[in-house]
């Protein structure tokens, strides 16, 4: 079992560009959540996907969007990048949105640097 995988590992973009980050959940998991983690801070919830739909969203602007595919993998898209978007982006998978098991399995993250 490969666990949660994310790609790419690192990414450098310039302000105004767009970026797509990818995540494959742990085998058997159907729910994917995305988090942004700034240096020295805890992860901040961006949104969660279940059954190919965005189920919940944190306090992030519409520049942040996502998608979940039939195989449960997911993408995070960020448009019009700002310097403040530089962070570690974490993907977490779990089983069943709303189920009584909130243990999440996190991937290693994608380090995004915006210049």
């Amino acid at each position: 079992d490969a666990g949660v995988t994310q790609s790419p590992t690192h990414l450098i973009k310039t302000r105004g560009q767009q970026v797509t980050l990818r995540c494959s959940p742990k085998s058997g998991h159907d729910t994917v959540s995305w988090y942004q983690q700034a240096l020295g801070q805890g992860p901040q919830f961006i949104f969660q996907y279940y059954e190919e739909e965005e189920r919940q969203r944190g306090n992030f602007p519409d520049r942040f969007s996502g998608h979940q595919f039939p195989n449960y993998s997911s993408e995070l898209n960020v448009n019009a990048l700002l310097l403040g978007d530089s962070a570690l982006y974490l993907c977490a998978s779990s089983l069943g949105s709303g189920r009584a098991n909130n243990e999440q399995f996190f991937g290693p993250g994608t380090r995004l640097t915006v210049l």
Partner: protein, 111 residues
């Protein structure tokens, strides 16, 4: 949503028992307490979860007093590899996305 308060950092030595306390005065009836561990440049890893009294697994113990307004993560006989950031989270068992992550406790283990 319950908010947690935990020490910013702690130091200890190899072989010692380490206790990290988390305060969550506004915990709700349906809330569970969960602890995660994060190493640099890695995603967080689930350590332990509990609702009340004491929970123990192969990695740690979690002590929760009757009023549930605080909890203590206990790591027995720590090693250098336990150096990490530890997050205390409180949230509804049914909605993990409602968990609020603070800055965590940076635990440094010295030889």
């Amino acid at each position: 949503l319950a908010k947690t308060t935990q020490p910013i950092s702690m130091d200890s030595y190899e072989g010692q028992e380490v206790n990290i306390t988390c305060s969550h005065n506004n915990i709700a009836t349906n809330d569970y307490i969960t602890w995660y561990q994060q190493f640099p440049s890695q995603g967080p890893r689930f350590i332990i979860q509990g609702y009340k009294t004491k929970v123990t697994n192969e990695v740690a113990s979690l002590f929760i007093p009757a009023d549930r307004k605080s909890s203590t993560l206990s790591l027995p006989r720590v090693s250098l590899s336990d150096t990490a950031v530890y997050y205390c989270l409180v949230g509804d068992m049914w909605s993990n996305y409602q968990l609020i992550w603070g800055a965590g406790t940076k635990l440094i283990i010295k030889p």
